[in-house]
Symmetry: C2
């Protein structure tokens, strides 16, 4: 199966969670907007096609199927790419965890855009300082502590006792948070041994290591979801 | 199958999307915290059980399975309650739409709590005014316009050419928005004929009509997700 991924070029964004799954599995895929430009996304948002209407990228074309929403795409790809357990109940859990990662990602976005995604950061800096402080002091410990417990319950190594798209997404979440909030993540590090072991393991997977070293991996930047603004991190 | 729903008593919240599906299908279920108190939720959040660890309510127990995340619960219940189409591709679309409803619900929550869910509304009123204005003027037209187009593409009546949990959730989303932002929703009404027709149809389904008239339906309130603060609606 050939997959066509549609996501804004130039940033990792939510598309990166899908890319990591495709790359890890060595899947045959095209990153359409990187090849053809972002304009290639627009006809689908306008609905100039039959079938499912996406609200926003990322979306994936697989044969005649068009699938939007990051976690939904990963749920679809999981069995095809060998990135979910076989058991039905574990697949339900995999998706639950993926949705909880999505919730945290949305909160991270809003830490620099607490008022509106359509306004510049500079137009909501004061609000961002308040929200980011709450994220660092309350939400990150809660979410990351949760995922740490999930790993412990899974045997300490995988979220689901086997490698899965959840592990890949936890890696991306941690990488993004360490980029955006290095001091806060350093403060929290001691309590997250399983998450850190997972990140080391995922980064060492041959296809992931090759991807991270390739030009296909965009750097983190202040255009993406995980942004580093020094004033939003723990005080130095 | 008997289902046990765990969600905070006293509010509709995210649990209401699950309740509407269970009620519409006439399912055999217990609303545990309403019978036993909110303390019944805590052992599961602490992880005093085998299996999947929920991050937050709502979660559902069905036999030995524990399932969290609203959209994940509805995806699980859909086939069992006859609330999804038979086709695999339409089920993928159903879930995509459910996740997009979840995204809007999160934005509605943040319109009155843009800084922190753990702070009082009164401690973030100024920020809420800014964020709610953006929600009313930018995000609601975008999301609701999207769902209106989804209904048009589905034949104008159902999101998926057949009754589904998505229709029930669109009803709940609209009911909540009309409670929270009556003036803004009145302003937008003319452009949303399919969504309004859907709401009338869903409210007239016998099991839904009976539920809405029963004491099991909590009223909307300023403790839930959809809150009416007059200063956050369109100017009078």
């Amino acid at each position: 199966m050939h997959y066509a991924l549609y996501y804004w070029s130039g940033i990792q964004g939510r598309g990166e969670f899908v890319r990591l799954a495709l790359e890890d599995a060595g899947a045959d895929y095209t990153d359409v907007a990187r090849e053809q430009g972002d304009d290639a996304i627009m006809p689908f948002l306008r609905g100039d096609h039959a079938g499912a209407l996406p609200f926003a990228p990322p979306f994936l074309k697989a044969g005649t199927l068009l699938i939007a929403q990051t976690a939904n795409i990963l749920q679809y790809l999981g069995p095809q790419l060998g990135l979910v357990p076989d058991s039905g109940s574990r697949r339900v859990y995999a998706h639950q965890l993926q949705l909880t990662i999505a919730d945290l990602v949305a909160e991270v976005h809003d830490s620099h855009h607490p008022i509106a995604g359509s306004l510049y950061y500079e137009d909501q800096k004061d609000e961002a300082r308040r929200r980011a402080a709450n994220l660092r002091e309350t939400r990150l410990p809660k979410f990351l502590g949760y995922f740490e417990r999930v790993l412990e319950r899974g045997g300490g190594y995988h979220a689901l006792r086997t490698h899965s798209h959840v592990d890949l997404s936890l890696f991306q979440m941690m990488a993004g948070l360490e980029y955006a909030f290095p001091r806060a993540m350093h403060r929290l590090q001691g309590g997250l041994p399983h998450l850190h072991a997972l990140c080391i393991r995922v980064a060492a997977r041959p296809n992931i290591a090759a991807y991270l070293a390739s030009p296909r991996r965009c750097p983190f930047s202040e255009n993406g979801i995980f942004r580093h603004y020094d004033e939003l991190d723990d005080p130095a």
